[in-house]
Amino acid sequence: MNFRRLFLIATPYFWLLALFLIPFLIVLKISLSDPAVSIPPYTPTLDLSAGWGSIKTFFTELDFENFIFLTEDALYWKAYLSSLQIAAISTFLALLVGYPIAYAMAQASDSWRPTLMMLVILPFWTSFLIRVYAWIGILSNEGFLNQLLQWIGLINEPLTILNTNAAVYIGIIYTYLPFMVLPIYSALEKMDESLIEAAEDLGCSRLSAFWLVTFPLSRPGMIAGCFLVFIPALGEFVIPSLLGGSGTLMIGKVLWEEFFNNRDWPVASAVAVVLLLILIIPIILFQRNEQKQREADQ
């Protein structure tokens, strides 16, 4: 009985310790090391066979040099700021696009809702990469969007959208839209329909009933949706590297290039550590929002 329980707990536990926690500790450690022209390309390395003395020198050689470097080189803090900005703007736009969809879904008839739900989820199952790729053909100078706008006569010269931040916004909104729609939909769907009737009975117009009742009640769903878009968008790599231009600074891309192109492992690790520190705040806020929701539901 106890052996079985131990086995049950230990297997996933040690898997995660070995392949999640320890790797992260290695990142942390390398971020405190110095770059070196060697294999692996950093120093110091821990040599346990040399006994206590080497462990002591190992720890004394660790420092925050890379983190100081991150603050000194404008590239990095600009990349962090611009990631935050891009993630925030696209989250807000996704909310604007997603809310009406969620609202309309919640008002559809019972027989339609499962189908609509499936239509929202379906893109999530198709390859992320392909969905981003689809926009390259649409947004390029000779792409479908420019062809359409020129055909209508709205513009004479093709607009440059691909390889700009605008394309990144579109990419993020497009790929993460289901994450925005679903929580808002579920908040709206469980709302008691008599609340609106009560508001109208008490003298609200349809619009003010929406604004005073529906909208505040869907707020937890909106908050959840915003976090679900914002958090992954912040560390996004594929979208800025396919749709963004050379001017698009996002921290995921910087990390990738620092690692693969510059082979500067310590700086790449430091970039990762700081990104994680930035992410902790929205993650904690998100958890708190979820917790509050669960308590309210009980």
């Binding site: 009406p100 969809i101 008002q107 559809a108 390859s127 062809q147 497009y174």
Partner: protein
């Protein structure tokens, strides 16, 4: 909700779904374009599908991807179900908070960080990188998704079913195999499917953790897409979209039908008491 379906609602649904589906539709249509220029229509052709099937690099990559996805999703389903069981039924044990933290953290961890940290681990323990390391990496993050799916099912699972099995003479293991597992099987299967899709889809983590010997399909697509749009990729995308669409629609029809049947039977069954009383 107050169900009054207005013009406004119809418009937002139409525009919303157009936004979601038009890009993919255009992709599909232009995969049948005869021209090499992707944005200029030059007549219907299946030429790019033929060329795709001749392209060994793509076929190899597809095969690697499927192998990785099958192995990692199966491992993830097993480990994730165990983890879910520990989370929901494990009671108190040393380091429980750390454990649940490690289950939830990978869900929000940026892929670049997961990939980087695993690569650094594999290097520092001197593991040869290839299919095996990608499988390890994919299993790690997708087991967390599986465990979330399975534990949400386990939370609503009536614990007295397990107690009844024990009461009727089952050992704890027998109770799990003959009662718990068959009942949570749909959740485990959807967890497996999710893990499979995540693995098929992943570019970033695979790029970090692979070695020169293994290239996955997303990596192949990414490197050719960086050079611009190509009709072969359109054809490949169309194939992948069709497989997923058919799969998801079939699955949802099956589950919709079985739910409807079950509800019908429950309604009929409930009338017995009313007529007996």
């Amino acid at each position: 909700m107050n169900r009054k379906f207005t013009l406004f609602n119809a418009t937002s649904l139409t525009l919303g779904f157009a936004f979601l589906y038009l890009p993919m539709l255009i992709l599909i249509i232009y995969s049948f374009n005869a021209s090499k220029l992707v944005t200029v229509w030059a007549g219907f052709s299946t030429r790019w599908y033929g060329e795709l099937l001749q392209n060994d690099a793509f076929l190899d990559a597809a095969w690697v991807t499927i192998k990785v996805a099958a192995m990692s999703s199966t491992l993830a389903a097993i480990l994730g179900t165990m983890a879910a069981y520990v989370l929901v039924r494990g009671g108190r044990f040393m380091g429980r908070t750390l454990f649940s933290g490690m289950i939830y953290a990978p869900l929000v961890m940026p892929e670049v960080i997961t990939g980087l940290s695993l690569l650094l681990l594999f290097i520092s323990i001197g593991l040869d990188r290839g299919i095996f390391t990608i499988v390890l990496a994919h299993t790690t993050f997708s087991m967390c998704f599986v465990s979330v799916v399975v534990s949400s099912r386990l939370v609503t699972f009536d614990k007295s079913l397990e107690e009844a099995a024990l009461d009727l003479g089952c050992s704890p293991l027998d109770a799990f195999v003959s009662v718990t597992l068959p009942i949570i099987a749909p959740a485990v299967i959807s967890g497996w499917l999710l893990a499979f899709t995540l693995s098929l889809d992943d570019l970033v983590i695979a790029s970090f953790t692979t070695g020169p010997s293994a290239t996955t399909l997303p990596m192949k697509i990414f490197s050719s897409v960086r050079l611009g749009v190509s009709p072969e990729i359109n054809a490949l995308s169309t194939i992948m979209i069709s497989i997923v669409t058919v799969g998801v629609i079939t699955a949802s029809l099956i589950s919709k039908r079985s739910i409807a049947r079950k509800q019908g039977e429950e309604r009929t069954a409930a009338t017995v008491d009313a007529s007996a009383a």
